[in-house]
């Protein structure tokens, strides 16, 4: 995930000085820039087994939260 970034000759809309721009370009990796991070990372497709696991864990979590709610309810009574 690297890309080449060129310094704008016409200055910077955020009012960043030339010295600071140089520090940024020499110290940060190109994909560390705020602007570079605005691009989305491509989506991946789930395998069937992964979907089964994710749904299984979702059902597990909902069921267990219901158990916790039941325990709170009985304790409160």
């Amino acid at each position: 995930m690297t890309q080449r970034i060129n310094l704008m000759e016409s200055g910077n809309p955020h009012g960043v000085s030339r010295d600071d721009q140089n520090v940024v370009l020499s110290s940060l990796e190109p994909d560390q820039l705020v602007e570079a991070k605005k691009r989305h990372i491509p989506r991946r497709r789930f395998k069937d087994s992964e979907l089964v696991l994710l749904w299984g864990l979702r059902v597990y979590l909902l069921f267990m939260l219901a158990v916790v709610a039941y325990q709170v309810w009985t304790a409160a009574r």
């Binding site: 704008m8 705020v34 991070k37 991946r44 597990y60 409160a76």
Partner: protein, 452 residues
């Protein structure tokens, strides 16, 4: 990936602040010798220590205190150390993810898995964070209550400290202020010494895991509370986002690991010290079933004196304040990443209104709830760690899938041993949760298995 056109590149103040921090790292790395290594550790340590000491929060310290008071010195001493080893395995993955992708955890989940699963993950995080945040303010209120401070004054003090850490609008300064506050978590160590523990028994327990507790619902609840005191979903989101905000790269992963291990070592020392500090209550057969922070301090006063009890209460206050800072920050990071709003502690207020707004709003709302008279908040304190353990397996599966995703991680995917360990942790956490569910729904099963 699409190349960036010249006109698209914009450098922000956030980039500049991060670049200055990184320039110091590069300068230190260029030198040779021990002092250079120490300097690099000083510059790069932070997210790991903060996440571990931050997780030694109000409910966690109460869980350790309850462990000592209920079971004394025995099985739970090495068990707590083991849970921190588990935390190291989990948190190390977030360091690698952050350093390799420069993206926060919430952002990666939304981008890679889509909004459907992303929102599930965010709902888990949001509910867990808010409930935990409430308990942090309860700990602050209870701890300062020991000194006679009024509840609203206690909450105000916590909010002022939280806000003071943010005022510099620099990640580095925020991190150092919060680290300084987190160091007070070690206050539990002198308290443990004041109780004059039987060191031979401590050593024996750490090596042999004996005496073992009985197999029953109470033991299981403490097991769950102690696990929930060391591994929780907010830690994943916080450390990855903090690693990104600090500007760490793949070159810094070794120091990120050292930072995480150092944090775990400090936090486990404080946790073990808390168990040792309250173990005399077990020896005196004192029931601590419904104790909160102030009650533990009061119960310990005859044993360790007013000064020792005051230190214990102050430790609870620190635990609550540091966790309130880190947890509200983790919520703000996650919100910014998902809403695609600026999200960094390097942002000036004018550019980070939504980031600082969410952070402040979470803290204010949780603090305000604690001040509402008559709310049964004791249940929140008791169950928040349990909820954290239950929410961990789905969060860990997302983490596991991301860290083994070669498209975004390249050669930094987990080695086989780390994958086996993380799968094992998911299985252990899920099984513990299921056992807990069984103990509630069918408590007689424990009697059939020889427990109570």
């Amino acid at each position: 990936m699409k190349p960036v056109a010249q006109s698209e590149v914009v450098i922000t103040h956030e980039d500049v602040d991060r670049a200055h921090d990184r320039a110091r790292v590069s300068k230190a790395r260029a030198r040779r010798g021990f002092s250079s290594g120490a300097r690099l550790l000083w510059l790069l340590a932070g997210p790991g220590v903060l996440v571990m000491l931050g997780e030694n929060d109000g409910p966690s310290m109460l869980a350790y205190a309850a462990t000592g008071a209920k079971f004394g010195i025995g099985f739970f001493l090495p068990f707590v150390v083991l849970t921190f080893c588990m935390a190291i395995v989990v948190q190390e993955m977030t360091v690698r993810l952050g350093a390799a992708t420069h993206r926060g955890h919430a952002e990666l989940i939304f981008d890679r898995f889509g909004p459907f699963w992303g929102w599930f993950s965010m709902i888990d995080l949001g509910i867990g964070n808010f409930l935990t945040l409430i308990t942090e303010f309860i700990a602050v209120r209870a701890g300062l209550g020991f000194f006679g401070v009024r509840p609203w004054v206690a909450i105000l003090i916590a909010l002022v400290i939280l806000y003071a850490a943010l005022m510099s609008h620099r990640y580095w300064t925020w991190e150092r202020i919060t680290l300084a506050a987190a160091a007070f978590n070690l206050i539990f160590i002198p308290v443990a010494f004041m109780t004059h523990p039987h060191w031979h028994s401590v050593g024996h327990s750490l090596i042999t895991w004996h005496p073992l507790p009985g197999f029953n619902k109470d033991t299981l609840l403490i097991v769950l509370a102690d696990i929930g005191a060391t591994v929780t979903p907010w830690m994943l989101f916080f450390q990855q986002s903090a690693t990104v905000d600090k500007g760490m790269t793949t070159k810094d992963i070794r120091f990120g690991r050292i930072d995480t291990v150092l944090g775990a070592a400090l936090a486990s020392a404080a946790a073990v010290a808390t168990i040792l500090a309250t173990a005399p209550l077990f020896a005196h057969k004192m029931s601590a079933d419904n104790f909160q922070a102030a009650e533990f301090a009061q119960a310990l006063q005859p044993i360790i004196g007013r000064f020792g009890a005051s230190l214990f209460a102050l430790g609870m206050v620190e635990a609550g304040i540091v966790a309130a800072i880190t947890i509200s920050t983790s919520s703000a990071y996650a919100f910014g990443e998902v809403a695609r709003k600026p999200h960094s502690l390097n942002l000036p207020m004018s550019e980070g209104r939504s980031f600082y707004g969410v952070l402040t709003l979470c803290a204010l709302a949780a603090g305000a709830i604690v001040l509402i008279p008559g709310l049964p908040l004791v249940y929140v304190v008791l169950l928040v760690n349990v909820v954290a353990v239950l929410a961990m397996p789905p969060a860990l599966v997302f983490l596991y899938m991301l860290v083994n995703d070669r498209e975004i991680m390249g050669d930094l995917v987990s080695p086989l041993w780390a994958s086996i360990l993380s799968k094992g942790i998911v299985i252990v956490l899920t099984a513990t949760g299921v056992l807990y569910g069984v103990s509630i729904i069918a408590p007689n099963i424990f009697a059939a298995l020889g427990g109570k």
